[in-house]
């Protein structure tokens, strides 16, 4: 079985090393079969660019976001207290997140409970690695393809990050097209607010189908996402629309890792 070398915080600390960043993998990053590929791509990029980082591994636990959004403040705060304690034990200062929901809660909602960290979304981080020339694009895998980007609500509307993902896409040689509803006007994939973990309420359509239609209307061959939930929803949408041969869903980290020939 091939394996990526991913440094684990407890090991690094015991070796007397203090990694600069904590890579917060998130539950989807650790367990979702499709999204595990995104975690691997991002870890490969971090390894290749020699970023000083580590993951918590078995010590990582849910930030409590789905519990909080589902009204269970008690469970959320218990999780948050536990996470903050772990992070403080390892003297974590900077956190890298791929999941915008983890990013939002760690960045905006942990400070209220005593957890002050510099939290960076990987789209911003990738952009800075590209800006400084640390990331070298080696292959033009997607030449002559068209791509569009679906804004995750918790990244875009929630935290005003619209440009970073687009600049990351801009770094690879590909034709970019914008959807009709984009940036702050973007339409949700349907999974936020704990919807990911339950059936949708009765209606006449699934939200992810409504959004998949936007993607299809854009004429793109690839829809880029930057959130594990958006990935699940849009991949389902593409599948149910029977467009799997025409349209693929890829994460920003996968796009970059592929172009770095990793």
């Amino acid at each position: 079985m091939p394996q990526i070398d991913v440094p684990v915080m407890a090991d690094e600390i015991s070796k007397g090393q203090q990694p600069e960043y904590l890579y917060w993998v998130g539950c989807a990053g650790a367990f979702d079969k499709r999204y595990q590929k995104v975690s691997r791509s991002f870890a490969k990029i971090l390894n290749e660019t020699k970023v000083s980082y580590a993951v918590l591994g078995k010590e990582e636990t849910c930030t409590g976001d789905p519990a909080k959004r589902a009204g269970n403040e008690m469970l959320f705060q218990m999780q948050a207290m536990q996470v903050i304690e772990t992070l403080k034990t390892y003297d974590v200062k900077k956190i890298l997140c791929t999941c915008p929901h983890c990013f939002n809660i760690l960045k905006n909602e942990y400070p209220e409970l005593g957890g002050q960290f510099e939290v960076i979304h990987y789209s911003t981080f990738l952009q800075s690695l590209l800006d400084t020339g640390t990331i070298q694009i080696k292959k033009e895998v997607f030449k002559n393809k068209r791509i569009t980007f679906h804004d995750p609500c918790y990244l875009g509307r929630g935290n005003g990050i619209y440009d970073a993902p687009r600049k990351v896409i801009d770094a690879i040689d590909i034709d970019y097209t914008e959807m009709k509803r984009a940036k702050s006007f973007s339409l949700c994939c349907g999974a936020g607010g704990a919807q990911m973990f339950k059936e949708a309420e009765k209606g006449d359509k699934e939200v992810y189908m409504e959004r998949t239609e936007d993607v299809l209307a854009s004429g793109a061959d690839i829809v880029a996402t930057a959130c594990p939930f958006c990935m699940t929803m849009l991949s389902d949408g593409i599948k149910y629309a029977n467009k799997e041969e025409k349209l693929v869903n890829m994460d920003l980290a996968e796009l970059i890792a592929t172009n770095m020939d990793l």
């Binding site: 367990f31 591994g57 409590g64 519990a67 009204g71 929630g158 339409l187 607010g193 309420e201």
Partner: protein
Amino acid sequence: MEQIIFACTFLITLILLGFTFMRLRAFFKLCKPLKYDGKLKERLSLTARVAFGQTKILRKPIIGFLHALVFWGFLVITIGSIEMVIDGLFGLNRSLAFSGIGYDIITASGDIFSLIVLLGVFIFLLRRLFLKIRRFSGVELKPKNKLDANIALSFIILLMVSLIGMNTFDILLHKEALAGTYPISSSLAAWINHHNNTSILFHFFWWLHIVLIFAFANYLPYSKHFHVFMSIPNVFFSNLNPLTFLPAMPEVSKEVKLMLSGDAFQEPSDSAPSRFGVKDIEDITQNNYLDSLTCTQCGRCTEVCPANITGKLLSPRKIFVDVRNRMLEKGPFLNKAPKYDDHKALIGDYISHEELWACTTCNACAQECPLNISHPNLIMDMRRYLVLEEGQAPEELNVMFANIENNGAPWKFSPEDRLDWTQY
């Protein structure tokens, strides 16, 4: 004589407004305290941008610009209204004319804006009457809400007609002696040229205009059009944080700390909160109530709501229409008897569980609201009541809670497998 009649009319207006103000103050007192962070500078800047700059309504550029013109017109025209009150009380005409060139600017812009507002509001009314715009309907919009919208717009049309009429006949009456500049009304006056009853018509329009202002001011607090008064304070007190910031519940923090410190059985020293989350009108904050009074039912929120677009019951606009109606229903009784219970509640009788669980917290509604109303956070507070007080979450969510509690992940995976993704 005219002065006495005016003073009496003005006094009646103030008394009626005072009565309304006291009534609203009593309603506000039923709510939890206003959240205010003291960030005066940021809040003034936010108010300048969103309220005075109309930045959010301009997200729909054409109709938004028309609204912005109407709003800016109102600001200028209000100066003229204040002058009329001074004139009326002291038996003067054009009492602010001493300001010279400034007066020319105020009157000229007021005069031009009165025509722009007239045309703008006329278009708004025609649009409501004859175009089928999806966001102008919905379960929460009863015929009386639609009538209310049309009455408010008609009021403004009459206000502008009477204002232009007043200026036109003032020009005909006082000719060159009249202070100020009136590009629109003077053209109209030149066209009419001569009229036998200029004095009577000037007085007629003057009185019509001021009485309409007084009537409109007293109508507004009972109308969805109350945003004319409430928009500026509401934007000032609105959310400065990132849209997806959901504040923690401090009352829960206390309990969690007790549990983690091992003193779970120790009774909390200070009185426990009456209720976690929002069930009924007395659980909302003053900010929520302010939001409900500010809502103009424009439906920009509902129009972009993914749940609503896909045919679910949730309509973010309905949440605040319900809050305002529920306060009207329960508020007066609660003010008489604090323990009053009509065996009804906001949740259940107004807002169903199904509506609350349909929200994706995408914040498109909050992003779109021209007056920065925050729908998702109130929806979250109602979910908090359902879960923390009633244990009434959809079954799949209870499974998710159990997974987090037992395995530290919302899915049923062991923490031991957290590094499996590194192998493939």
